[in-house]
């Protein structure tokens, strides 16, 4: 493999699994209370210390310089227990990737080199919207050498915890947009309270408005779509890995429960309809594993048709995860719907993640238009 040997990936996977088990699983219910409970700063700081935010960041910018296989293996293990941290890693890494695609490594290095803590390091980004589909864009105008931003951006992920944000904005009246880096402490910025959302509660999003805010152009003017697509083409596998992690977590909890719960005097795992549900879950996971493994290798090796593989994998695995997590609750019955178990969170998170990088139905149409027609 070009990026990360099998051994390296295994070590990374073990580290992520260990972290999930020890740091995420015990406080999952508590962490999920955000924004009505405390934010899990300590966990984020630990994840930062062990470089989970540095995986795809190039080595000369202080990162690990790994590929999508490495990012995917970490996200998968983390999302088995709590996808919120997965969402934070995904968002920040996606922002890094856009800056990388735009050739703005110097700007990125200025952030990563001087970051004294995780908040300085994180970059907020509206990762649930594809700006080419639904134009949630700010407006930018050139003022000498500077760009001035006005307007607003909905659902800016990490908007209330990151120091900087990567903002899509329009410069001209056509359908193009550009990316700008802004300092979220700028006095022209107002940030809403964290938005109460379906899932990923501890991966907060906010609405942000800009009033004459300085922005640093990332890459070239009006090339935002190219940069976004360059990132998304790769990051589809990372999104799929998050969904796969959720599926594995849901199946593990479901199987364990069916062995300890009785109905009609028998373990419920021994009723054939229950076996059928569990079998369907297991098949989905195996299929997902095979697809994702092929897709991540294709992406990292720039294999033939890698873009096609990555997108198809994401569309399919995200759908599988939404189906499977419904069954994950169903297997547990009433308790599956309660906060005491992880299934209800996985059900919400799987659906939440299906919306990452844009509308799910449009991803399909885009797949056909770009790769088949």
């Amino acid at each position: 493999m070009s990026k990360g040997s099998h051994r390296e990936l295994k070590l990374l996977g073990n580290a992520a699994a260990d972290f999930s088990r020890k740091e995420l699983a015990p406080s999952r219910e508590e962490n999920d209370k955000y924004p009505y409970g405390a934010f899990f700063d300590t966990v984020i700081n630990k994840a930062y210390t062990i470089d989970f935010f540095h995986i795809i960041l190039p080595e000369d910018a202080g990162g690990m310089g790994q590929g999508m296989a490495a990012l995917s293996v970490v996200l998968e293990h983390i999302c088995q227990e709590d996808s919120s941290l997965g969402g934070i890693i995904f968002t920040c890494s996606a922002a890094h990737e856009i800056m990388k695609a735009a050739g703005s490594m110097d700007v990125l290095s200025q952030i990563t080199d001087v970051a004294e803590n995780v908040n300085d390091f994180l970059i907020a980004f509206p990762v649930f919207n594809n700006p080419s589909e639904i134009p949630h864009l700010a407006c930018a105008r050139k003022d000498g050498d500077r760009y001035i931003l006005t307007g607003s951006i909905e659902y800016m992920v990490l908007g209330n915890i990151a120091a900087k944000a990567l903002v899509p904005a329009k410069i001209s009246d056509d359908n193009t947009f550009s990316f700008f880096l802004v300092d979220l402490k700028d006095k022209g910025i107002s940030i809403s309270d964290p938005i109460l959302s379906l899932g990923l509660h501890a991966c907060p999003a906010t609405d942000i408005s800009f009033q004459d805010v300085n922005g640093i152009l990332i890459g070239e003017e009006n090339k935002g779509k190219d940069y976004f697509n360059a990132m998304a083409e790769k990051f589809h596998v990372a999104a799929a890995a998050m969904s796969q992690g959720i599926m594995k977590g849901a199946f593990k909890e479901a199987l364990a429960y069916t062995k300890g719960r009785f109905q009609g005097g028998r373990q419920i795992v021994n009723w054939s309809e229950m076996k059928m549900i569990l079998a369907n879950m297991a098949v989905k996971i195996k299929v997902s594993e095979m697809i994702l493994a092929s897709a991540t290798v294709a992406v990292d090796e720039n294999g033939n048709g890698w873009r096609e593989c990555a997108k198809a994998a994401a569309i399919h695995i995200q759908e599988l995860a939404c189906d499977l997590t419904t069954d994950g609750i169903q297997v547990l019955g009433g308790v599956g719907y309660m906060k005491d178990f992880g299934q209800e969170k996985r059900f919400r998170d799987a659906k939440h993640i299906q919306a990452i990088l844009g509308l799910a139905p449009l991803k399909k149409i885009d797949y056909l238009e770009n790769f088949i027609m």
Binding site: F128, I195, Q263, G264, D340, F347
Partner: protein
């Protein structure tokens, strides 16, 4: 199709009455539910132990807790089938608030299915009094136990289940010990129709139903569950520790069942089926509401959002998705309407929907009924008459029809409801994730519908049992 048989027999006034019910529901939605839906859910996110007394009192003021109590027992006497339509309307805005109203009638239905006219009259008149005094008097059904969900709903499974709620016969009544969980509306209710067992080794022959009142010695509330959705409707733990229930609060027990034609086990299954055949239509009503609410959120988003340069509502794929969602709402609604027709013909609503009975109760003034009825209803003879008519004269085919349709509607409508929630979120993307756009709340709320009142898997098995198994003598259910 039950409708083909039932429509000619149904009183025509029921249509007008159902229209009236819809009008009340819509007015209540505009004035109470819509302004409060997001606030209540946020409150519950913030404080999961919050009790929604403010809403319950408002619903009580509007008379919603007596609307479907028969006029004979002091209620407003709307036809019971119209309750499904009502909860669809409320559920299309908020399933929690729909539950806070609808689940009370699960308690009422359980009480009524005992056909103990004296106790029905006593408790229903408590509800009426609560409406007049402004102190809501809600009723629950307490059946689910920590170790037994499906097992307590199917008598075929009960004897092998892990059932623990014991009723010990003592002089003058029963002593209850045990715990019930997931009791919807528990903390905000006054009466709890509690299922317990005289013999835990053979519960199917030893099931009793008693009425326990909040505040009785030995009865207390435990924890409130912290749920993913339907947060505004508490799911409560009820704890019984040497709780003495006097004989006059026994709705039905094995001694009374002995006087009936069927065995103890079959009679108790018949009583449970009477209840769930009616209330599963209600769950289908909730689900239709959820399907509708998700559809409304999606179409409003599509009508106002440009995607790839043109309004989403003008993309052909989106139009097909919206049509699919519309279809899901319509099919879900048809499923509960058919079930209600089955109940009108053969189930709980049968007596009250007979034209002479229906029109008599409609026409005779409340004050007159209130004066005359309790005297009759308190006579043991009336309980005997009702049990003869409703239990002994109900054929196996009758209750297979109502029970089968109840299950069919329940799993069909709730599956369609959750399907629409998925589709709405897919269509809305990022916007759908936000609490203030409603779709995510419907998604969380609707999932519970596939679980309570028997999981959809149990209901599928019941459809097999009711509609197919009898034609194949070699078929056995719950015994693989």
């Amino acid at each position: 199709m039950p409708s083909l048989q039932a429509i000619p027999k149904s009183p025509r006034w029921m249509i007008r009455e159902t229209q009236e019910v819809i009008a009340i529901a819509r007015k209540f939605n505009e004035e109470v539910v819509k302004p409060y839906v997001l606030t209540l859910d946020r409150k519950m996110h913030e404080d999961p132990d919050y009790l929604p007394w403010d809403f319950v009192k408002k619903a009580n003021e509007w008379g919603l807790y007596t609307m479907w109590i028969p006029k004979l027992f002091g209620g407003r006497g709307y036809n019971m089938a119209s309750m499904s339509v009502f909860v669809e309307e409320i559920g299309s805005v908020c399933l929690s608030m729909a539950n806070l109203i609808g689940v009370h009638y699960l308690g009422v239905a359980t009480l009524v299915a005992s056909w103990n006219t004296r106790l029905i009259d006593r408790i229903c008149r408590d509800v009426v009094k609560g409406e007049k005094t402004g102190e809501p008097c809600l009723i629950t059904l307490a059946i689910t136990e920590p170790g037994a969900g499906t097992d307590v709903e199917e008598m075929d499974l009960a004897d092998k289940g892990n059932i623990t709620c014991k009723a010990e016969k003592v002089p003058g009544g029963y002593k209850l010990n045990g715990t019930k969980i997931f009791i919807s509306n528990g903390h905000v209710s006054v009466w709890h129709m509690t299922i317990a067992y005289e013999n835990l080794d053979k519960p199917s022959d030893a099931t009793i139903m008693v009425a326990v009142k909040t505040g009785m010695d030995g009865f207390s509330f435990g924890r409130m569950e912290h749920k993913m959705g339907q947060k505004g409707c508490p799911a409560s733990e009820l704890i019984f520790k040497d709780c003495f229930v006097p004989d006059d609060l026994v709705a039905v027990d094995t001694r009374q069942i002995d006087k009936l034609n069927r065995s103890k086990k079959d009679t108790m299954q018949q009583i449970i089926d009477y209840v769930v055949a009616a209330t599963r239509a209600g769950v289908a009503g909730f689900a239709t509401g959820a399907a509708r609410g998700a559809f409304d959120a999606a179409i409003q988003f599509a009508a106002g959002t440009k995607v790839n340069g043109k309004l989403l509502i003008n993309h052909e794929w989106a139009q097909c998705m919206l049509a699919e969602m519309y279809k899901n709402v319509s099919l879900a609604r048809i499923s509960y309407v058919e079930t209600n027709y089955a109940n009108n013909l053969f189930g709980m609503y049968k007596l009250l929907q007979l034209k002479p009975v229906y029109y008599f109760l409609k026409i005779v003034p409340h004050f007159l009924l209130d004066k005359i009825a309790p005297g009759f209803l308190n006579k043991p003879f009336m309980t005997w008459v009702f049990r003869k008519l409703q239990l002994d004269f109900q054929t196996d085919e009758d209750f297979h029809c109502t029970s089968g349709w109840g299950s069919l509607a329940k799993f069909s409508a709730t599956d369609l409801g959750i399907k629409n929630c998925h589709m709405a979120l897919e269509m809305m993307g990022q916007a759908g994730l936000r609490h203030d756009r409603y779709a995510e709340k419907f998604f969380r709320d609707a999932k519970l519908l596939q679980i309570y009142e028997g999981t959809n898997q149990l209901n599928r098995l019941n459809v097999f049992k009711c509609f197919m198994a009898n034609d194949y003598p070699q078929a056995v259910v719950f015994e693989e």
